[in-house]
């Protein structure tokens, strides 16, 4: 009978495993919620996250799905992950699912860059844009012992010899933290090819390099470093948004006479070939979600800035972003 016991142990382990993965697949869905809203909630939407669980896209998608469920604008929204190649694997899948009215993908600037660096045949311009949800301006940061006190100090030294000033960023080439310093270089008249970009593995890897003054300066979203910025260990020289970042005492690049506005953003797109009616159905649900108090509360907890635009406005924005990213990466020989 012993082998039987052992087999049973395997079966139990397998059962546990399925239970564990099972939780994940349905994790974003608020099962069992029935709604009585007169317009009838959106049903059966699946949101694809082209990245691993726990990342930025994943959190955004799961938060959106939860708020949509809680506010009864949609029921049984399912979030699933299809990671790979900086999001281009998911993008390829989305573009292949032409006309699928129940599928959407959460994406952002990183996916735009990856679609070029990975030479993906699927491009974001082929998708049906639904809505931009949130954005975060970039920040140019140094450690408290850095010789650079203002962005002008930095740019002056940087222009003299770009190779001597290392630039740390928390993403790989093509990602937001890479695109920001490259566009900044272009804006101040430095050849992006000469930028000495050092890629770190996310904020946890980059922060010690800023604190220890190991990089000349760092370009990244300020959100991950707010504690250190408040305590004065990290100095922000400039932020790259249209207006100043709340809680951060630093000018924008525009105020500093550098003509660049750069934000890292996240939004939702649908497969190509979706009918206008089906598109509007999802956009309506997203608009309702955006208007809810729950979404506002979620934005606050997460430290996200609202950047909600839909339809043609988002489409124009997407096309413009795609072109800007393509220009920079082509200059670098990456696209």
């Amino acid at each position: 009978m012993r082998p039987m016991n052992a087999l049973r142990a395997i079966a139990v382990a397998a059962g546990l495993a399925f239970a564990a993965t099972g939780c994940g697949v349905t994790g974003g869905a608020d099962a069992g919620k029935t709604s009585s809203a007169p317009a009838g909630p959106l049903t059966g939407l699946r949101i694809m996250v082209p990245n691993t669980p726990g990342g930025g896209y994943d959190t955004t998608a799961r938060t959106a799905a939860k708020v949509m469920g809680d506010t009864k604008t949609a029921t049984n929204v399912e979030v699933f992950n299809l990671a790979g190649a900086g999001g281009t694997v998911g993008l390829a899948r989305l573009v292949n699912e032409r006309g699928n009215k129940d599928l959407a993908m959460l994406m952002g600037l990183g996916v735009v860059g990856a679609s070029y660096t990975n030479k993906s045949e699927a491009k974001l311009t082929a998708t049906t844009p639904l809505a931009r949800l949130i954005q975060e301006p970039g920040a140019i940061m140094v450690g408290k012992d850095s010789p650079y006190k203002t962005i002008d100090d930095l740019v002056k030294v940087w222009k003299e010899d770009p190779s001597k000033v290392s630039v740390g960023g928390g993403s790989s080439p093509g990602g937001p933290d890479h695109l920001l310093p490259m566009q900044l270089a272009k804006a101040v008249g430095i050849d992006p090819k000469k930028v000495n970009f050092v890629s770190f593995d996310g904020g946890g890897d980059l922060l010690p390099a800023i604190l220890g003054n190991k990089v000349g300066f760092a370009a990244s979203g300020a959100g991950e470093y707010l504690q250190q910025i408040k305590s004065g260990e990290v100095r922000v020289l400039a932020t790259s948004g249209e207006s100043r970042l709340e809680g951060v005492n630093a000018p924008t690049l525009k105020e500093s006479k550098i003509d660049l506005v750069f934000t890292n953003w996240r939004g939702i797109v649908a497969p190509p070939g979706v009918s206008d009616a089906d598109r509007d159905r999802i956009v309506d649900a997203l608009t309702k979600m955006h208007a809810s108090d729950e979404w506002k509360a979620a934005l606050k907890t997460r430290g996200w800035s609202d950047a909600f635009i839909t339809g043609n406005e988002f489409k124009t924005f997407l096309t413009d972003q795609d072109k800007r990213v393509a220009d920079v990466l082509k200059e670098l020989g990456l696209a």
């Binding site: 012993r2 016991n5 052992a6 087999l7 142990a9 395997i10 382990a13 397998a14 546990l16 495993a17 564990a20 993965t21 939780c23 994940g24 994790g27 974003g28 691993t52 669980p53 726990g54 994943d58 959190t59 799961r62 939860k66 992950n81 299809l82 790979g84 190649a85 900086g86 281009t88 694997v89 390829a92 660096t117 990975n118 030479k119 190779s163 001597k164 290392s166 790989s172 080439p173 093509g174 000495n196 970009f197 050092v198 890629s199 996310g202 946890g204 890897d205 922060l207 010690p208 390099a209 604190l211 220890g212 190991k214 707010l226 504690q227 250190q228 305590s231 907890t301 670098l332 990456l334």
Partner: protein
């Protein structure tokens, strides 16, 4: 209030029935997740995160910490029993652990892993409670040049696992380095060895490669030889650790802890390198060198303690600075933010109940894990009584499930089979497997740190030894490299001493499967 009082208060938080239940749930889930190759604690926590919206933050974090520690325990089980590492940090455990299992000492291997993890986890947690700010200050001061030096030291471990033929050993390292090159170049963004397949541009997942080479390769090998060798099951032997086992285990536990903890706290340290170092240290220091490669208990005790101590180390910068140093810590950070808790230098002051409750629950989780795992060891060991065809069918099932679970990509199954065939070929032609895995893990990291060091020093070669720790580590490397020469010279001048004997048992039977 001093640390001790705070800790007692933490225990009162952690010992409420509710929190105790979550700790139990966490360690059980963690063990299950660790046992399955492919699903790691990071993914488990990320997937559970949405379900914990309505929980008390303390309860949720206690459960997550249980999953993290449990995963570290569970990973060793499959390494030892099935030669299939559940996590990349338990790859080394498979070398001696699986050999012990084959010799009927699976229960002892599992027990020394469990107790070693307990010892390391407890000491690590105590260090975390006592020295968090100090450790973090040191760990954060390290830059690429220090990491590079440490990785080079880790690479020396390869020499301990090269096997009988140096040429084959180095060929295997080369294969590992080549596989490590696949994917996007981290500096320039150019694609390397991806052959136009976008799925390859993230590189190959270490777990998928390890599972393919170890488990699938082994299953193919066994399948190819089943007809020729008689159907025998593996003996199970006695269930508990003997006096000798205890005597040989306790020092490796402590040394493994000492190696693992600082690595966990370093932002780019990781749990793998200390297990390599621990293995080579134990191999050097053991009184039974002839047993290494054939199931030496030290080779399980040390690395297992090292990977658990590193788990405790990882929580140090997370709690003291809000600095996640690996994927699991990253997800836990996301959890903190979800609960509206700002991690950072002020966390210890702002949220004492949460922090000390969490630390106390780590002690409790560790104890729970020992209580669960120790009696389980003989039960797990009985798995090996299953006749080989069924056993390896089961292994293949779990390997496939695990490889698929990493990214939910069917493409990973193709990789699994292709690399499984490579694993089979390596066994056929007598190439040792571990050098490949070590090359695969260390190659990309060494490259990354080397290039970072040069980028930060603007190409100046002095950037390689710009940090004191780097200089110190290189001195150790030089010492280790020079040691055999010195020893040789010593013997030459004192001809009376007997030459070091190579035991005949080290010459391997070519038809046995190799590591």
């Amino acid at each position: 209030m001093d640390t001790f009082n705070l800790l007692l208060q933490g225990f009162s938080t952690a010992l409420t029935p509710m929190n105790l239940m979550f700790a139990c749930l966490g360690v059980l889930l963690g063990t299950a997740v660790g046992v399955l190759p492919g699903i790691g604690p990071a993914m488990a926590i990320a997937l559970l995160l949405p379900l914990t919206y309505n929980l008390e933050p303390t309860s949720a974090l206690i459960m997550f910490a249980g999953i993290y520690y449990g995963g570290m325990y569970g990973g060793s089980t499959t390494s030892i029993l099935l030669n299939t590492p559940g996590e990349s940090s338990t790859v080394i455990t498979a070398i001696e652990g699986h050999k012990m299992a084959k010799a009927g000492r699976a229960a002892q291997a599992l027990a020394t892993a469990a107790i070693g993890s307990f010892v390391a986890g407890t000491i690590g947690t105590a260090l975390l409670a006592a020295f968090a700010p100090l450790v973090v200050k040191f760990a954060v001061s390290l830059g690429p040049s220090s990491y590079l030096a440490i990785m080079v030291l880790g690479l020396l471990t390869v020499t301990a696992v090269l096997g009988a033929s140096k040429l084959r050993g180095f060929a295997s390292v080369g294969l590992g380095l080549a596989i490590g090159l696949v994917g996007m170049d981290p500096v320039t963004g150019q694609q390397r060895l991806v052959f136009g397949i976008p799925l390859l541009s993230d590189g190959l997942d270490i777990v998928v490669v390890a599972v393919a080479i170890f488990a699938v390769g082994e299953a193919f090998w066994i399948a190819a030889h089943l007809r020729r060798s008689k159907m025998s099951t593996i003996p199970v032997g006695q269930p508990w650790m003997g006096k000798q086992d205890w005597k040989r285990s306790w020092k490796p536990w402590l040394r493994g802890t000492a190696l693992g903890f600082p690595f966990g706290a370093m932002p780019a340290g990781g749990a793998e390198v200390p297990t390599f170092l621990s293995y080579s240290v134990e191999k050097k220091l053991t009184k039974h060198p002839e047993e290494f490669g054939h199931g030496a208990i030290e080779g399980v005790a040390g690395p297992e303690a090292a990977n658990n101590a590193s788990a405790a180390g990882t929580l140090t910068p997370l709690l003291a600075l809000g600095l996640p140093t690996n994927a699991t810590a990253g997800v836990m950070l996301a959890a903190l933010i979800q609960f509206g808790i700002q991690p950072g230098p002020l966390l210890f002051q702002n949220e004492p109940i949460l922090v000390w409750g969490l630390i106390a629950s780590l002690f409790i989780g560790n104890t729970l894990l020992l209580l669960i795992n120790l009696p389980m060891a003989p039960l797990w060991a009985r798995l090996l009584r299953i006749p080989r065809p069924y056993l390896y069918a089961g292994i293949l099932f779990f390997a496939t499930l695990g490889a698929y679970a990493v990214n939910l990509q069917a493409f990973d199954l193709v990789i699994l089979l292709v690399l499984g065939a490579l694993g089979f070929a390596m066994r056929r032609f007598g190439l040792p497997i571990l050098p490949l895995i070590i090359g695969l893990i260390l190659g990309p990291r060494i490259e990354n740190q080397l290039r970072k060091a040069f980028q930060l020093s603007a190409g100046d070669i002095s950037g390689l030894w710009s940090e004191p720790l780097a200089v110190g580590v290189y001195a150790v490397v030089a010492l280790i490299l020079a040691w055999p020469l010195v020893a040789l010279a010593w013997r030459r001048f004192r001809p009376g001493e007997e030459a070091v004997q190579v035991p005949a048992s080290l010459e391997r039977d070519p038809h046995q499967s190799r590591l």
